[in-house]
């Protein structure tokens, strides 16, 4: 076998560049996540919503908006991201399960993946998920989806991955979604504290009659 120093150099350069890209990705994502998490925790959403209604010249709304609660910093943000991603996946699986156009879909595997993911989401939300348990749940769901995918491919019908791609309208497949999920869940369980992380909760807006006194401008800091 002939040594190829030039080829080795190119490979080394490519590896180095890939490593740089990975570090860059991490840097940007961590910065963005911490910014969003802190903003969610410190911003006065009630005042912000009141300001939006004022700017829209719409009737007064007394806003009862609850910001994401939980510990400071990126901790709750990571859990919220994982839960958000789980919600998306569960919703996508629901769509596949409910679609009546693919009768030979291996629903049991998809149903199993859905149940595992739903249980994981509940545990993350409660703060009761262990790291090992969470990662095992992700692996179990991924395995179930892989089995479903394989079985459908063998039967030459549209695979769950293809169905999800159709649902999303983009080129994301189940493997990529599960890979992203693993990434999010790993980050979430890494920081789970004894008090348990909290979730972004739905906001309620209670309308009442009357004028619209501008309370204060939100987030002018």
């Amino acid at each position: 076998m002939t040594p190829d120093p030039a080829g080795d150099g190119r490979r080394a350069h490519g590896d180095h560049q890939a490593q740089d890209d990975h570090q860059l990705d991490e840097l940007v994502r961590v910065a963005r996540a911490s910014f969003i998490a802190r903003s969610d925790l410190t911003f006065d959403f009630e005042a912000g919503l009141a300001d939006v209604y004022y700017r829209a010249n719409l009737p007064f709304a007394t806003v009862v908006a609850r910001r994401p609660a939980g510990g400071p910093g990126p901790v709750s943000g990571a859990v919220a991201l994982a839960c958000s991603h789980l919600d998306e996946l569960i919703s996508l699986l629901d769509t596949v399960l409910l679609s009546g156009t693919h009768a030979n879909l291996p629903g049991s595997q998809i149903q199993r993946a859905r149940e595992v993911l739903a249980r994981l989401r509940a545990e993350l939300a409660r703060g009761s998920a262990s790291r090992a348990g969470a990662m095992a749940a992700v692996a179990s769901a991924a395995d179930a989806l892989d089995q479903a995918d394989l079985r459908v491919r063998l039967e030459r019908s549209p695979s769950p991955g293809n169905q999800l791609r159709g649902r999303r309208g983009s080129a994301i497949d189940t493997a990529e979604l599960m890979c992203m999920l693993q990434y999010h869940v790993e980050a979430a369980v890494q920081h789970v504290g004894p008090a348990g992380p909290a979730q972004p909760r739905p906001a309620r807006v209670r309308r009442r009659d009357g004028g619209s006194p501008r309370t204060r401008r939100a987030d002018q800091a």
Binding site: R29, V30, A31, F35, F45, A187, A203, V205, D219
Partner: protein
């Protein structure tokens, strides 16, 4: 869109939108102001967007135009490539929810995280406009096809802009690590 739904939309996207505009060089106050305006437009024009999955794209486009207008009216002169003034029309791109890839990798003090955020924002702000727009959306988890549809570009141009932005940021990081020590 009901009030509860709008409030949920506000809770979910407000902070990410502020980051998006900060990445374009807006100050915290400018970004917050433009985002408030964008949500006000959303509240008034809620009936124009029937598919709730279109809101993330709609809000980003409108918030960006609001920001450009607030800093000198350039939004109406076509700097955003639209040539339109105001919030409509907007190219709508549907995704279920934004797949937010952001994640906290290492525990750090609040001061360190803040410094890191400002550092990243300064890096993004140093990019040319088009690369910045593409790259910021890329890090929010949008696929190339979705970015292309949102910005009215070809997919190949999106990928090219991402590659160029990466290259530019690598150079900036290398320069920074030489002048200030390794950031990470």
């Amino acid at each position: 869109m009901g009030e509860d739904e709008f409030a949920a939309l506000y809770l979910q996207h407000r902070s990410a939108l502020v980051w998006y505009l900060r990445g374009h060089g807006a100050s915290q106050a400018e970004a917050a102001d433009a985002v408030q305006d964008a949500f006000a437009y959303a509240l008034r024009d809620a009936d124009q967007v029937s598919d709730r999955r279109a809101w993330p794209s709609w809000l980003r486009t409108v918030a960006f135009r609001c920001y450009l207008r607030s800093v000198g009216g350039r939004g109406s002169s076509g700097q955003d490539g639209s040539g339109h003034d105001g919030p409509a029309p907007v190219t709508v791109v549907c995704v279920p929810e934004l797949p937010d890839k952001a994640v906290a990798a290492e525990p750090a003090t609040d001061a360190e995280l803040r410094a890191q955020e400002e550092f990243v924002l300064s890096l993004l702000a140093a990019l040319p406009m088009q690369q910045r727009r593409v790259f910021t959306l890329h890090y929010e988890g949008w696929a190339s096809a979705e970015i292309a549809a949102q910005l009215g570009m070809q997919k190949a141009a999106v990928r090219q802009n991402i590659a160029r932005a990466r290259s530019a940021l690598r150079s900036l990081l290398m320069h920074d690590s030489v002048t200030q020590g390794d950031f990470s």
